[in-house]
């Protein structure tokens, strides 16, 4: 097995991983930044079209304490407030730093433009036109990473497992996808920054790589997960007609800007029937909009493909062209003419509030193992405020990277034998027939993934209930224990998609079980976790849920929510 040695190994090259690499390198560490896809291209960052929240007060009076107040409010009692504090306090510095690094935030000269987004009390959200925030951020950080001689970048490395000795991470083993060779890494510290897991749900806005790799690596290494039951569903993801070349969540800013009408299958506005305010302004929250669309479909009043209509037909051509800019051409290339037709939208899995449990230094309970970005749990509680995902990637990336650089070499390091042992654990699953069972001819990784995605969507989606969750948990356990061992990837070395899919599924099944278990243990409705048979919040569940793995068996436990150690109200009053 080929071997590399580094101070800090960063897994995942989106905004969080790249920021972590830059900060670790600035602190003097030798960094290896790897991604299963290409550096800066494969994750959620490059797909992010929307806004970035930070209290820079370029449009109206604002302060990070207000951003923190809104974030905690949105999290419905479950935010790890110390993480939320880090996020909101440091976000402004990061936005301005990114501007210094040439991210072209939409601006009126010295003033960065900021818009209102749901849940924010003031105009706080920065963006890059048109729908270009993510690609611009990715480009900036990619350039920044390239300038550091002590960051080694490697595209096409799938990290298979971390290697832990005496509760301390010492390295990792990976697959070099282009050659099919295995490779091992010795590292003093590892930063997991491989993004979220919304790919587990049939309808999602994820890239192929967002199947919970970080979470599964952390769990198998002995770290804990937190708040896994909280998956954010974006209410108006694109459903039909077929639209390619655009992210499916693209409609939201236009709906706010232009007041697109949300209509049911019978052409009627319906949000008001569910207690929401709709009219021309679209102030309705994401959770209520998602709920209302699903309920209309259940009542037989959905759009033909199982969603709702979004109509901009009340606006004239010129008005649409001004607002949509170059996007109107992309729509035309998909034969979509908004002056003549409505489009269909439906809720899709968009973000995961839960994730890896870390302390304020972004370190897990495994020494030397850090996490950053969407894979970190806690900062957003039961529901994320829109615009908080990108600043979270910057801020947590920075904290994780600079702290990872401080980790001193462990007494024990990764030996050849350690990597062989770690690899053989996987290879045993991979290469040997499972007992006397013959491998299933009809099952492969992709088919089982699709079955899993459908199950998660149907039973662990926007609307849950006790029965559905129990059924889903049993099914996922059966997939993991009985079906997965029967699947054998096809042999092959160079770019073996069958093996890559198998490794992805291994992680996704573990994450799916963690989500099902956590959801079934939270016997209340709160934020993104909505139970139809228990439609109320309950004080006794104002706690965070921890999922840990004991010899592959997942266990749920509870812990008190981390609160601020100062009075936020006093502090906000003091600064305004």
């Amino acid at each position: 097995m080929d071997h590399l040695s580094t101070d800090v190994l960063v897994v995942g090259a989106g905004a969080a991983g790249m920021y972590a690499s830059v900060s670790a390198a600035k602190s003097g560490a030798d960094v290896t930044l790897c991604d299963k896809s290409l550096i800066s291209r494969g994750g959620a960052t490059v797909m992010a079209q929307m806004t970035v929240a930070a209290a820079i007060a370029h449009q109206e009076a604002d302060h990070w304490t207000h951003h923190l107040h809104d974030t905690i409010q949105s999290g419905q009692g479950l935010c790890n407030e110390k993480l939320s504090y880090q996020l909101c306090k440091n976000a402004p510095k990061k936005i301005l730093e990114m501007r210094d690094w040439k991210t072209d935030w939409a601006n009126d000269n010295a003033r960065i433009r900021q818009v209102l987004a749901p849940g924010h009390e003031v105009k706080r959200c920065c963006y890059v036109d048109f729908l270009n925030t993510g690609p611009a951020v990715a480009r900036t950080l990619r350039g920044k990473v390239a300038k550091h001689k002590n960051i080694k970048r490697i595209s096409g490395i799938t990290i298979i497992d971390l290697v832990v000795k005496k509760a301390r991470v010492v390295g990792a083993i990976g697959l070099h996808t282009e050659t099919g060779d295995f490779v091992s890494f010795t590292a003093k510290a590892v930063v997991l920054a491989a993004g979220g897991l919304t790919q587990l749900f049939a309808r999602n806005s994820a890239s192929k790589n967002m199947g919970g790799d970080s979470h599964a690596l952390a769990l198998r290494a002995g770290a804990n997960l937190i708040d896994m039951e909280f998956v954010q569903f974006f209410p108006i993801g694109h459903l039909a007609p077929r639209l390619v070349g655009m992210d499916p969540i693209m409609w939201d800013p236009f709906r706010y800007k232009l007041g697109g009408k949300l209509l049911n299958g019978q052409g009627e506005q319906f949000i008001e029937n569910y207690g929401g305010e709709d009219g021309e302004t679209y102030k309705v929250g994401r959770d209520l909009a998602a709920f209302a669309i699903i309920k209309e479909c259940e009542a037989g009043r959905g759009s033909p493909n199982g969603g709702a209509w979004l109509s901009f037909q009340h606006l004239n051509k010129q008005h649409l062209e001004d607002a949509f800019g170059p996007i109107i051409k992309k729509l035309a290339s998909n034969d979509i003419d908004l002056t003549k037709q409505s489009i269909e939208v439906a809720p899709i899995a968009h973000y995961h509030m839960g994730g890896i449990e870390v302390d304020e230094r972004m370190e897990t309970c495994i020494k030397g193992l850090f996490a950053a970005g969407e894979c970190v749990g806690g900062a957003n509680g039961a529901n994320r405020l829109s615009g908080n995902a990108i600043p979270e990637a910057f801020v947590f990336g920075d904290i994780a990277g600079s702290n990872a650089a401080k980790v001193r070499a462990a007494f024990s390091t990764l030996s050849d034998q350690d990597s062989e042992i770690a690899l053989s654990r996987v290879m045993n699953d991979l290469l040997q027939p499972a007992g006397n069972n013959i491998t299933s001819q009809n099952e492969n990784s992709r088919r089982l993934l699709h079955t899993l995605q459908k199950l998660m969507w149907k039973d662990v989606g926007v609307l849950r209930d006790t029965g559905k969750l129990q059924r889903a948990l049993n099914e996922v356990r059966r997939f993991r224990k009985d079906m997965f061992p029967l699947i054998r990837p096809k042999q092959g070395m160079a770019f073996n998609t069958s093996l890559m899919d198998w490794l992805d599924l291994r992680n996704s099944l573990l994450c799916a079980e963690a989500i099902c278990l956590a959801a079934s243990e939270r016997k209340e409705s709160r934020g993104a976790h909505q139970m139809e048979d228990i439609p109320f919040k309950s004080d006794k569940f104002t706690k965070n849920q921890i999922i840990s793995s004991h010899n592959g068996h997942l266990i749920s436990s509870w812990k008190a929510v981390q609160k601020l150690d100062f009075d936020l109200k006093e502090k906000s009053l003091a600064v305004v």
Partner: protein
């Protein structure tokens, strides 16, 4: 695109298969045509339903954000995620000016992002 429409297989993809060490050979796949679908949709359909070993690069799934799915479609360099599937035969080949890795995957990794031991 789903397997329900499988009976109506009226797009034909003629795809170059093989690695740098083997002579590439063309293989024909029949896939269901659906209005508005991309060539990438069809390739994913093949992975899901016919051959899980067919290799091509993609991450973002039709958002044209990752820019990984570039290939030769009927002789033109195209993104598979933007190119609409045709109700006829299309020829898919790896990028001609890049080293072949497998099937439609070429070496598009920038030199400074390569694994070097």
């Amino acid at each position: 695109m789903n397997s329900k429409t499988e009976k109506n297989l009226n797009s034909e993809l003629y795809i170059s298969r093989g690695t740098a060490c083997t002579d590439p050979k063309f293989e024909t796949f029949n896939v269901p045509f659906q209005q508005g679908a991309s060539v990438l949709d069809a390739l994913i359909w093949i992975n899901d339903n016919v051959d899980e070993t067919l290799s091509f690069r993609y991450s973002c799934i039709n958002a044209n954000a990752c820019k990984e799915c570039m290939m030769l479609i009927d002789g033109e360099v195209e993104y598979a995620c933007l190119k609409k599937l045709q109700e006829k035969k299309s020829k898919l080949q790896p990028l001609p000016n890049k080293k072949l890795i497998k099937d439609l995957v070429t070496d598009i990794v920038p030199p400074k992002e390569k694994l070097s031991i």
